[in-house]
């Protein structure tokens, strides 16, 4: 993939991100931040690539593995914690009526 097309991807991705969040109720600031934070752990894909391409280079394998660990800590923890927060909101309506 050429650099120019990657730049296009970056530009369009940023525009998409700006458009996605229009009006957020304050209630959701914390969960939204935490959910978006989990998505930023997508670097786990880069860590995976590093490990697969390491071709037996042990220091590189270790760096990749540690990096993968950090990323997954971010991803798994982030999604779980967001779900915990949101579970508290969605429980309400069913209780109420």
């Amino acid at each position: 993939m050429s650099f120019i097309s990657l730049l296009w991807v970056l530009l369009l991705g940023s525009l998409l991100g700006l458009e996605l969040i229009g009006k957020v109720p304050p209630t959701l600031h914390t969960p939204l931040m935490s959910g978006a934070n989990a998505i930023s752990g997508i670097t786990m894909l880069a860590a995976l690539t590093l490990i697969v391409k390491a071709e037996g280079n042990v220091p590189l394998l270790i760096i990749g593995s540690v990096s993968l660990g950090f990323a997954l800590f971010n991803v798994v923890g982030g999604f779980f914690v967001t779900d915990r927060m949101l579970a508290m909101f969605s429980r309400k309506p069913s209780n109420k009526k």
Binding site: F3, L6, G13, S14, L16, G17, L20, I21, V24, P25, P26, T27, L28, H29, T30, P31, M33, S34, G35, A36, N37, I39, S40, G41, I42, T43, M44, L45, A46, A47, L48, L50, I51, V52, K53, A54, E55, G56, L61, I63, G64, S65, S67, L68, G69, A71, L72, F73, N74, V75, V76, G77, F79, V81, D83, L86, M88, F89, K92, P93
Partner: protein, 479 residues
Amino acid sequence: MNLPVIIKFVIDLLAVLLLALGIKGLSKVKSARDANRLAAFAMSLSVVGLLSYYLGTSGIAIQSWIWIIIGSIIGSLFGAILAKKVPMTSMPETVALFNGCGGMSSLLVALGVAIFPMSGGQENFDFFKSLINEVSISVSIFVGAITFTGSIVAMAKLQGWLSTPGWTQSKVRHFVNIVFAVASLIAFFDLINGNTSSIWLLVLVSSLLGIGVTLPIGGADMPVVISLLNSYSGIAAAAAGFVVDSQLLIVAGAMVGAAGLILTQVMCKGMNRSLVSVLFGGSLSAQSTASSSSGEYTNITSCSVEECALTLEAANKVIIVPGYGLAVAQAQHTLREVTKKLEQNGIEVVYAIHPVAGRMPGHMNVLLAEADVPYEQLKEMDVINPDFPATDVVLVLGANDVVNPQAKNDSSSPLYGMPVLDVQEARTVFVIKRGMSAGYSGIKNDLFDLPNTSMVFGDAKKVLNDLIGELKDLGVGEK
């Protein structure tokens, strides 16, 4: 194009679409929980896509599998355990910690690629050959390091492990940070010139810059900083995407980066602060200690829990103003007990939620939801403010600056212009508070001096427990 490439292309496209829908859904109450799961699904999908692509093309060595499994299990396990165990009151620092680790991950990937240029596969993995790679590695390290150290400092400050050192409030800090920033630039250009060893200098000074920028920022502004650092970790991920040539990483990183910026902006608005003043202004308390508004209280009325209970019993409409103190005392469940009793007696109870109540925007909503408070009873500031004049009793629980009338009346006050709850309009205001200490801003609260305000001193949880007892004696809620 062979089959694995096509499959990966389709999966990536689908993952991007689902992630975008996930972020969009997270900004609406109704769809938020499903959206979060959708995003989680999209992330797993992207892993499956990447692994199947390598299986179909170059194959994955056994050794690689082992390291993949080790890293995944340890990371996921710790993440899941922490996410399950952490109390809702420490949510802000938890998000900061997760975020810092995301930044660390980008940093390590770039570092790994930089130190060990990988031997070329069929994709020609020649790093450091082109300027672009060097630039993207540098950016990834720079942003990743700032995200990591900044987030860790933010977490430590919120946990109370770190206080704000005095020197960071003086102008010295700008000088120090400029030195770090210039040093980062020098390391950056040195690296691009082909001097690989300066990568360590870049790691060091960008880490220090992250600390130097975050350390002076006061507790009240910390949520904004976390949100901004969250945006940075998206940028770091996008930079890592350039390093390993992954469009999916670039799109997802850019989306999070941009969405994080918008969210940061929204949060700043809610606190009546500009991003510039948050980042460079130092903490609010430092500015205000010298200002004239920190005068003495002249007209404090203190009252017993019993009087408070009697007034509550006679009320028709009660508004609760919960704040940080309530969260610290973990009294949200006890509060719910009190309001249940009042409701059983036919008294209308609602909660007035200031945009920055708690320790983070939206944090109070989460805490009250945890205590089973119906969502419909939580009213936002603009909705509830016109209701105060028709309200009999307002209970202020551990909130301070957000109910300070100075913000409306006194143009010399540092709080002036901040949106506040107009509690003083109500007939009677009870402020439950440990003592006369000032709030986050360190500013005197004019509300406490007003004739219709009574202070009930004590720990929020204890006062509420006593209140339950008194209400019981009065026969409230005994039906």
